[in-house]
Amino acid sequence: MNRRLGGLIKKEFLQIVRDPSSIAIAFLMPLVLLLLFGYGVSLDSEHIPIGVVMEKQNADASNFASIFHDSRYFSTRYYRSTRSATDAMISGKINAIVVLKQDFSRRIGHDAPVQLILNGVDENTARIVSGYVDGAFQKWLERDAAMRGLPLETPVRIEQRIRFNSELRSRNFLVPGLVAVIMTLIGALLTALVMAREWERGTMEALLVTPVSMGEVILGKLIPYFLLGMGGLALSVAMALWLFEVPLRGSIWVLFAASSLFLVTALGMGLFISSIAKSQFVAGQIAIIGTFLPAFILSGFIFDINSMPKIVQFITHIIAARYYVAILQTLFLAGNEWSVILPNAGALVLLSVLFFGLTWKNTRKRLE
């Protein structure tokens, strides 16, 4: 049995080395994705352009406007009228407008209204701007109270403490999450494609009439792609730690153990897809829609699962990447927190049993 398995594995490796597209998916794609996400994508907003309109220019108004000028979160532009500022906002030059009315300096001290007009099209940025404006405003209130020798008029004040990621660097959660996407790509998409290729070319039937058993065929596929996937993982972790300087607070051994478990689950998904789709084109499509996109959108990698509609939340329970992303974010940023790792690892075990079972059932049926 060992010699037969060895032969199959050798054949698979030769195919991997000879076909540039496998190498591209296994190593080039992780590289491109990590570079894009590590350098290209950021949710950390600084220097957000905002417009300030002072309907009447005087010391009070300039003093108030200076809070935006001094904040590193904003880059301020001044406009003469609300109208010209509005045009700038519609064409995307600024994200918000602060309007100080004619009577600002007369009413200051008694509820003087300041208008903050946000461009709601990009609602995430709008919320962030609104939060930063509040922060800058708070500082002005303190300064103003100190200048007039008055006690500060904010009764309750928030002190925030962010655990695990105190500077709120978005890279620190995007890069670990991306590892799940990359492993899905290698485990599920690549495996689905290569198994479908065997069916498409008719070499699978040929294999099955040899003394090789179905179990050996599946193992002969799993072992090479498992190794390829672990190679992709090592590359991703190395880039995360040394290029992007993401902290790894948990143990690297737990990381590799959890990743092997997820990779096995992903390979199971790939095998299952190829057992229902015979052609490469259809298998590729199903793998992209059934595994790659959900790993992006439904895994909690970018979007908060708790905020999704109930039915979508329900669907996320069968998305393996969901459990892996939870493990990754905890291992990288929080540490070996077993109460998070163990239940999620358990779910991965269940899912892999499910997918291998389904594959087994489907392949046997086909042979009858």
């Binding site: 491109v32 290209g40 519609i90 099209v121 939060g131 509040d134 922060g135 928030i158 959108i297």
Partner: protein, 368 residues
């Protein structure tokens, strides 16, 4: 000439739609993606589980806790009895935030001294953490204003925030116009990236080149099917956005279609260019995948282009998706008039013409 182009076009449509799977791939996946993306892709926080650790027994702290638990997006999970459980609840991901109120909160507030409260937030997902901080700030601001006005204080300046174009700051309004662009790109690329590669693989492209058809005619015949299918796809998804997801379409339909037309010109151009470089269908598909992933990530679809490093921002200038998304969101939500969209429209036209010209040149000059 018209008759020859028409014949080639009919043949292209037959090649695409002849089998059931080919037809399904064009229709079912985009609809699934629209539904899943549309419901799952949101930065709104609708459910923030939080806990309270209050050492204060006064009524003011109860009012403050009520202000938080009464907010629609916050839900109170537990009232903690000791300090130790704060970090363990957060580490286990049972709550996103803990609100901590010190022992003298009520008494010092009643004596007119400002009192701090502390919020401890899970920073594993930094975007969610920032939103939790912002939401808390908003709740507290209202609480402070109510407190100040009921205790005779006055606030020197009050900020009135309003969001234009998306008054309730619904994430869905931001993402769904983006999805119109995303799916239009996806389908158009799938159709065109395979069209020349398929003929190259089967060897029929050489035959096409020796017919009386000129390269320009071949180009038009190859481009039109992708163009028409992309147009249909964009129309269906726009209809779904407006009538299913109720995203407002404020701008003129004519402006919208001019934008779609120019975007399709560039998408078809890129697709045909990839297709005429590829030798096999698999290479065509992979090429399309390698183009689409960066095109989507660097388009401002989920994260603002403004946050990217300057050099990456310069790269986005050649990305047709960038212009298309600005245009789509402008027409949908802002009702941006045509003249203000010219800066987005001419680059689309330029990219389209350049890519189509290169594709046409490659037809003749890349021979196997």
């Amino acid at each position: 000439m018209g008759k020859r182009i028409f014949a080639l076009m009919v043949k292209e449509f037959l090649a695409l739609l002849k089998d059931k799977k080919g037809r399904l791939v064009l229709i079912v996946p985009p609809l699934i993606q629209l539904l899943v993306f549309g419901y799952a892709a949101t930065f709104d926080l609708k459910h923030v589980p939080f806990a309270v650790y209050s050492e204060d027994k006064g009524s003011v702290s109860r009012d403050l806790v009520a202000a938080f638990s009464g907010a629609s997006s916050f839900s109170l999970q537990a009232e903690l009895a000791n300090e130790k459980s704060i970090s363990s609840l957060i580490d286990k991901r049972q709550v996103l935030m803990v609100l901590r109120i010190g022992p003298n909160f009520s008494s010092s507030l009643l004596q007119g001294r400002p009192s701090p409260i502390q919020i401890i937030v899970d920073g594993r997902n930094s975007n969610t953490a920032m939103l939790v901080v912002n939401y808390s700030g908003t709740i507290l601001k209202k609480f402070n204003e109510a407190w100040a006005s009921s205790h005779g204080g006055s606030i020197p300046v009050r900020i009135e925030a309003r969001a234009w174009f998306n008054p309730n700051l619904e994430s869905r309004w931001f993402f769904i116009p983006g999805i119109v662009g995303l799916l239009t790109l996806l389908v158009t690329m799938l159709v065109t990236a395979l069209s020349v590669a398929r003929e190259r693989e089967q060897g029929t492209f050489d035959q096409l080149l020796v017919t009386p058809m000129s390269p320009v005619e071949i180009l038009i015949g190859k481009a039109l099917p992708g163009f028409l299918i992309g147009m249909l796809e964009a129309t269906v998804i726009t209809l779904a956005a407006v009538f299913w997801f109720h995203v407002p379409l404020l701008g003129s339909i004519l402006t919208l279609y001019v934008g779609i037309f120019l975007f399709l010109l560039s998408a078809v151009g890129v697709g045909l260019m990839i297709s005429s470089i590829a030798v096999t269908q698999q290479q065509g598909l992979l090429g399309a995948f390698f183009f689409m992933v960066p095109a989507i990530i660097l388009s401002g679809f989920a994260t603002p282009i403004r946050n990217m490093p300057t050099i990456v921002q310069d790269i986005t200038l050649i990305n047709p998706m960038r212009y298309f998304l600005i245009m789509l969101r402008g027409v949908f939500l802002q009702g941006t008039p045509f003249p203000l969209l010219l800066p987005e429209l001419w680059p689309l036209a330029a990219i389209g013409i350049v890519c189509l010209a290169i594709a046409g040149w490659l037809f003749r000059n890349r021979m196997y």
